[in-house]
């Protein structure tokens, strides 16, 4: 295995009692393939059905049943490989991984061992400080999911639900290229984004569509890799970060106390904020992999791969670069917008024919902020891209002020409506008639002679006058006009 060498970054090192440590993380991500049917049977993959309601004779491993590969799952794996800029293996082999478990009806899992469908690729990961780095992908292979054992349904018995049995998973194996909890989170976030763009995995971690096995080791900066522990089945991005954090701390503690790290599988307990061993080495499985004789090697042509390539959507990296180049957005704003395909699409609908920076500000600051506050997803937004665009148009042509625009946003959010009609109906139109503004200013000046005097010595009081005038106008006065006239009248020019 080749290991990409990243020089230790002092900022990412962990302070121990005896000096600095570097954490090294690699991940095996299990992504459920978006498909109607399972990998080797026609049973439905729908989530949440009655237990054992999506089970074919193949999934239940009835005698004499044979697997038949689902071509769509293969296409999804290839699309994902292309999205990860990876080598596509036109010939791959399915193997049997043999072990006994009640939720594994066949007594083996069909997986790909020595010849996976996708080889080496890469993911570019962006961090919040604006830097990016590349994570190597070692391989991606297709395999079957197992069923689910339910231990809490009966006092003395366990139940088995085979609905998931045979559902297609992609196992995406990264190189140990991650150096902090933040990097681990960012990698999984980016991988999830790519999968969701491609439509090859819905990325729904709560339903188990995306799970990560996180390999963590620590070492002194510059030393060879330490012994790793594998933290199994971490099911949220936040938990991935926490698991890396606490596991690194645990390992540093052991090493600094003069102990050694045992290679083992561990489980992260978010409640206690700790990892603990799952099974010991003595129980280590010998999976007796061998090529599945029920399935021919998987083979396809260049033309088929090219057709899939041609139909791929624009991916987040390309979209981000385009947003920066074409819309003049900051890389940070562009990154926020492309994190989800729907938000990028929403932004582009708003920005079309308008000032892109204004559109980005409205989408990111106002809309996302409001969605966040209400705990809503973008597709549940009460304000459509067309409405938000209309609002921005009203600001741009001077019909309403920025402040009124925020009020209008709130009205659209709670009551809906066409922005221009709402403005007309509620009389929110900005006052640009300088005569009317002058009249209001004169009234304010007349009512506050002392403040006028003070302002001459302390020009910052100007802001107070602006506020009074705006208040008196019900917020509808054109702020620029108010400023200009006030300056003149107060003799501050």
């Amino acid at each position: 295995m080749t290991i990409a060498v990243r020089p230790p970054d002092p900022k990412k090192l962990i302070k121990g009692a005896t000096g600095d440590w570097e954490v090294v993380v690699g991940m095996e991500v299990h992504a459920q393939v978006t498909s109607k049917a399972k990998l080797f049977s026609g049973a439905s993959t729908e989530f949440g059905g009655e237990p054992n309601s999506h089970v074919s004779f193949v999934d239940a491993a009835m005698p004499g049943m044979l697997p038949v590969i689902n071509a769509e799952c293969v296409a999804q794996a290839v699309r994902t490989g292309l999205g990860l800029r990876a080598e596509i293996n036109k010939r791959s082999v399915f193997d049997r991984k043999n072990y006994f478990y009640p939720d594994l009806p066949q007594g083996y899992q069909i997986s790909q061992y020595k010849q996976p469908i996708v080889g080496e690729g890469e993911v570019i990961v962006d961090l919040s400080d604006g830097t990016s780095f590349t994570v190597g992908i070692e391989r991606l292979h297709l395999e079957q999911d197992a069923g689910k054992s339910l231990h809490d349904q009966h006092a003395t018995m366990s139940f088995v639900d085979l609905n998931r049995s045979g559902v297609a998973l992609m196992e995406i194996v990264s190189r140990p290229d991650l150096r902090s909890a933040e990097e681990a989170r960012a990698y999984l976030t980016k991988l999830r984004t790519i999968l969701r763009y491609l439509g090859t995995c819905d990325g729904n971690m709560e339903e188990g569509s995306l799970r990560a096995d996180v390999n963590v080791s620590v070492r002194r900066p510059g030393d060879p890799l330490g012994t790793r522990c594998e933290i199994k089945n971490v099911n949220s991005i936040r938990f991935v970060g926490q698991a890396v954090e606490v596991e690194a701390r645990r390992q540093i503690g052991v090493l600094e106390d003069g102990g050694t790290i045992e290679q083992e599988t561990r489980l992260f307990d978010p409640g206690r904020g700790e990892t603990r061993p799952m099974r010991s080495k003595e129980e280590a499985h010998d999976y007796r992999y061998f090529p599945d004789p029920d399935l021919l090697p998987l083979e396809f042509t260049d033309a088929w791969v090219e057709a899939l390539q041609g139909a791929l959507p624009e991916l987040p990296d390309a979209k981000k670069a385009r947003f920066v180049a074409d819309y003049g957005l900051s890389p940070y704003d562009a990154g926020v917008l492309v994190a989800e395909r729907v938000s990028a699409d929403y932004f582009e609908a708003v920005a079309k024919g308008r000032d892109a920076k204004a559109a980005a500000n409205w989408v990111i600051n106002e809309l996302f902020g409001r969605l966040n506050k209400d705990g809503k997803a973008l597709d549940e937004s009460p304000i459509s891209a067309a409405q938000l665009g209309g609002l921005i148009d009203l600001v741009a042509d001077g019909t309403i002020s920025g402040k009124i625009a925020k009020d209008l946003f709130e009205i659209l959010w709670t009551e809906g409506g066409d922005p221009r009609q709402v403005v007309e109906a509620r009389g929110l139109r900005q006052v640009t008639d300088t005569g009317a503004i002058e009249k209001t200013i004169d009234e304010v000046i007349a009512a506050n002679p002392d403040k006028v005097e003070q302002a001459k010595a302390k020009p910052t009081l100007m802001g107070w006058f602006v506020g009074q005038v705006m208040k008196a106008s019900g917020g509808k006065a054109n702020p620029q006009a108010v400023n200009d006239i006030l300056k003149r009248k107060l003799g501050l020019e």
């Binding site: 005698p63 043999n98 006994f100």
Partner: protein, 491 residues
């Protein structure tokens, strides 16, 4: 009226067409014959009511002139085939009570073509055996006995019930399966015709798996023609089995009369094994003479890796079996022997449910796939397999049309004769047949003579991939010369 069970499929077909007898009459004749032959233990389960219903339906179709290719033909089905709602337990204790809610592709094609099911046939447990002595339901007796002897003989295996039922007139023909010789060896031991078609010719869907890369279904019948009629109905591409071949199914019966004129028949020197009885050698010589007299050219050929075939087979087949049989865990169907926890339940169930030979092969298979042994055993055996395949490809490329060999190294042996022998001695029964499975080729066993005790012996013809037609043509030449072999009824 003659005994209706004496007719071949071809004769029944003609008789139905002439209204000489009805499908119901034929089915009832077989039902009585089965009832009277319990001592042979060929059937695990007879299905007379089902047979009668199907025969009535056949008679209705015959009356309307809508007869299928196997209309009204009563068949026995090896217990390895899943048949809807009927005992399908691979002659194993571990599948106790299993009646599948589905029908195997091969049997569904037989019913589609009008055949009638008489019941499920005994076999070696999970098709592992060469004498039908590993069945949970007890051994099958060969309808043949040595001249002047009352000693029970084995019918061969694993399709021993199929071969015994066909030889004993307990069905017009039977389905069977062949992983290392399980059709051809019992056919040779019972004076019947058995063909293992090319791997991929018949769908494996719904057949309990033994070794997936070697298993093939095929018929055992009384004549070469009957075998051809049966194979046509059993064959064909099946989208549910991705290893089944997407090729048209030829009219095998039409190939029967072709003869062997101008064909080059290979005689492999490696098949003359040490300690082979002289009468097997004589039989082989006789077979060569018949084919030469019919116009074929005999060619001496070499298949140099033949001697590695048996050891390689006994690595590959158990390896696949160890994995294929993992599903019999007591969780979802069949036998369950309780335990304190799930592991104990697995252990108790599998300990009680599998017989000795099955356990032996699971252990061999588990061993050869284990970390540290995989390369030395499984991987090496796969390489040997490639070399065996190449041996055949070479001789076929040199213009050989088919290969003639003995089918077995001996005639049927006595029940219990191998009880104290090492398993290897039993495995030697497959010495002429396993290469064919390893190379995925078609092979037919045709009765060709008797040994000095009056027991039938067979010859084997091996063909090019998907060229079963040449095997039927050459097989018919042997049948014409050797005649047919029918046991004296003693039961």
């Amino acid at each position: 009226m003659t005994d209706l069970t004496q007719h071949t499929i071809a004769e029944l077909r003609d008789g139905f067409a002439r209204r000489d007898f009805s499908a119901v009459e034929v089915a009832e004749a077989y039902t009585r014959a089965i009832e009277a032959a319990k001592v042979l233990n060929a059937y695990i389960v007879a299905t007379p009511e089902l047979a009668l219903d199907q025969a009535k339906a056949s008679d209705a179709r015959l009356a309307k002139g809508e007869a299928g290719p196997l209309e009204g033909i009563p068949l026995g089905i090896k217990d390895l085939f899943c048949t809807r709602g009927v005992h399908s337990q691979a002659a194993s204790h571990i599948l106790d009570g299993f009646k599948p809610p589905y029908e195997s592709t091969v049997t569904s094609q037989l019913w589609r073509d009008g055949a009638v099911m008489l019941g499920k046939l005994n076999m070696d447990e999970f098709a592992m055996g060469s004498s039908n002595e590993t069945s949970f339901y007890g051994p099958v007796a060969n309808p043949w006995r040595a001249d002047g002897s009352n000693q029970a003989l084995v019918p061969g295996g694993s399709s021993g019930g199929s071969a015994a039922a066909v030889a004993g007139m307990l069905c017009a023909a039977a389905t069977a399966t062949d992983t290392g010789g399980s059709i051809r060896q019992p056919a040779a031991f019972t004076g019947t015709v058995g063909i293992k078609p090319t791997y991929g010719r018949c769908s494996r869907w719904g057949i309990v798996a033994f070794a997936s890369s070697l298993d093939q279904a095929g018929p055992i019948a009384r004549t070469v023609r009957d075998a051809a009629i049966m194979l046509k109905s059993m064959s064909g591409n099946d989208p549910k089995d991705t290893t089944s071949a997407d090729l048209p199914v030829p009219d095998f019966e039409a190939a029967i009369g072709r003869g062997v004129k101008g064909l080059r028949i290979g005689i492999p020197k490696e098949y003359r094994v040490d300690g082979m009885p002289g009468e097997i050698d004589n039989l082989w010589e006789e077979g060569k003479a018949w084919l030469r007299d019919a116009g074929a050219t005999l060619v001496d050929i070499s298949l140099p890796h033949t001697r590695y075939a048996l050891p390689a087979y006994y690595i590959v087949a158990p390896a696949e079996a160890s994995s294929n049989l993992a599903r019999y865990d007591g969780v979802r169907y069949g036998l369950r022997v309780p335990g304190n926890d799930v592991i104990a339940m697995y252990e108790n169930t599998r300990a009680a449910g599998f017989g000795r030979e099955v356990k032996r092969r699971i252990m061999i298979g588990t061993y050869v796939l284990s970390a540290g042994y995989y390369d030395a055993y499984y991987l090496r055996a796969q390489k040997v397999r490639t070399l065996i395949k190449r041996d055949f490809e070479t001789v076929f490329a040199e213009g050989v049309d088919a290969i003639l060999t003995p089918a077995t190294p001996s005639a049927a042996f006595e029940v219990g004769a191998m009880a104290t022998a090492s398993p290897i001695e039993m495995y030697l029964n497959d010495i002429f047949t396993v290469t064919v499975n390893m190379a995925g080729l078609p092979g037919i066993a045709v009765p060709a003579g008797k040994d000095r005790r009056g027991l039938p012996l067979g010859l084997q013809l091996i063909g090019r991939p998907f060229d079963e037609e040449t095997l039927f043509a050459a097989g018919q030449v042997i049948e014409n010369a050797a005649g047919r072999f029918t046991p004296e009824r003693w039961w």
